[in-house]
Symmetry: C2
Subunit: 325 residues, 2 copies
């Protein structure tokens, strides 16, 4: 039976809506229900379900571990939002804004525990392996977040360092989501490796797309302020590439804009974007995004699974590659 | 073979000193080595080792799970210290003071993952049960911390609520430490339950002793500012009891002291302590502490283990009951 993306999303939303984290104390649990309810694309659990469906029809075995990933992902968002001092998440107040930083720290801590509990619904025979992979993925995500914060303070970041940072911070969890689906379904080691590699490549492409949309996205669709990365001097793929490619007057101008304490945010976004346009940064970034999605599709092609089922994952990846939000 | 407290402590310190959390990024891992190195009593891993030794001589099976508890405990301290805005921990700068709140949040997050990884060194046949107990204990600790913060904002807290809060925040982890020792050693269900109950009762007594030492401790031995709880209007066992017992002029005076915005901290400590003295709060608290330690010893007596080995745990509990720091 083919699990469609829509059907998989319904199963995920149902599982998430039924999650029982606890009730008292309210200040601990209310923020958890809140952050889990304000949505998001549910991309990670969806990938786990679609991956699982390549080899098995028993969706009941994967919905809870898949929900575990979503709880874990939301926990990292709750803590990252404190660290980034972010007021909004998915158009809603962040947990630390709505409650307090203390509430957000502790709610996140409980979510990490709950995600492990949900992950432990896997069968005994894959329990140790699943948790080992989950823990090593979680560690890489924390390391990625630390590198992200380190890079803000550093003068120079290379493209390689940047790609490695987003691999850790974002891509490995997509890789693990797919890997988990294969693991729960009991597929071969070769397939499990290919699934992870598919997810990691797609994840890097996905994050580069995020960087691109931050500058070139349609604000009404993207749901974030366009140019936020530029305003914050965030060393994204676009800025690092621009700093490498800019010569002479443009290099000088770009550095002035980055160092200016007086320029207004809208002017800064406009002028930096103009430099990006002159340097064709959009094209360079799109090429890099395509490169990672191509690599992802190669891994998917090699996967030993029914073509008509792989088509669903391919469709999903294509939508990510062409997303506008 | 009897494992003495000294020998157990040496094994624990050796295990902790050898822990490899990771190296890069430095800002993520340096704080973890720092907090783990500044010591503490290592009470929880010690309890796990002594409990394990009641039934088994194979210390190599318990040192890593015991270290897991210490890593977990230190993670909760790192996060709690942010929430409590505490500048010092064991006489040293707290992680958020020495680095930043962001560093402390993320270092704590990684420590939680590492504690699970270390806990997973238990044998396959007890893996699920161990992690289930660890997770439910961890959840209770977070709930206890939230109640603790809630109580600061509340007008009235009953003694029962207070005891339940410290049971969750402090005592269950002592209970789990002992339970873990029994579990790893493969003892009976009855013994495992008794070990947990022993630890929980002892843990409540231990925390009440902490409250008492905060007012009546010798500062040079206690290592914290005496009277810190009084200055912060912390609803400890002492204050809640005093609020219940004070009548007439004393009740009025106590409430004035708690509400005063002008009184200096030293005067406040002095005057509140005088009221405690008049109301014999020290005696009431000591009686309650003895009650919990007596209950703990009853559980220990019921435990089916060699008397000469139980004597080590009894000795340890006696030292806690009579501690001055």
């Amino acid at each position: 039976m083919i699990l469609t993306i829509d059907r998989a999303l319904k199963l995920i939303e149902k599982e998430i809506a039924a999650l029982d984290f606890g009730k008292e104390p309210k200040e601990l649990y209310d923020p958890i229900y809140y952050i889990m309810a304000i949505g998001g694309k549910r991309m990670r659990p969806l990938l786990a379900l679609l991956s699982h469906n390549l080899f098995s029809d028993k969706t009941e075995n994967i919905t809870k571990p898949a929900a575990a990933i979503e709880v874990f992902h939301n926990y990292t968002l709750v803590h990252d939002d404190i660290m980034d001092n972010a007021p909004l998440r998915r158009g809603n107040a962040t947990v630390h804004e709505k409650w307090s930083a203390n509430v957000a720290i502790l709610a996140g801590d409980v979510m990490q525990i709950k995600s492990t509990e949900l992950m432990m619904t896997v069968d005994d025979k894959i329990l140790r392996r699943t948790l080992e992979l989950f823990n090593s993925t979680a560690t890489e995500i924390c390391e990625g977040q630390q590198y992200d914060m380190d890079f803000e303070k550093r003068e120079k970041v290379t493209l390689e360092e940047y790609i490695e940072m987003i691999r850790m911070k974002t891509a490995v969890l997509l890789g693990f989501s797919l890997e988990l689906g294969g693991l729960v379904a009991g597929t071969s080691e070769k397939n499990i490796t290919l699934l992870r590699e598919f997810g990691v490549s797609m994840g890097i492409g996905f994050q580069l797309m995020d960087d691109l949309l931050d500058v070139y996205g349609d604000m009404s669709k993207f749901g974030k302020t366009v140019g936020g990365d530029i305003i914050a001097n965030k060393k994204t793929y676009l800025l690092i590439t621009a700093l490498q490619k800019a010569k002479g007057a443009e290099a000088k101008k770009l550095k002035e804009l980055l160092g200016s304490k007086t320029i207004g945010p809208l002017d800064k976004v406009k002028e930096v974007t103009e430099i990006y346009n002159k340097l064709e940064i959009k094209t360079f970034t799109e090429l890099k995004i395509n490169e990672y999605f191509d690599l992802a599709f190669k891994k998917l092609n090699k996967l030993d699974a029914p073509l008509h089922k792989k088509a669903v994952l391919k469709d999903f990846a294509n939508k990510l590659a062409q997303r506008e939000n």
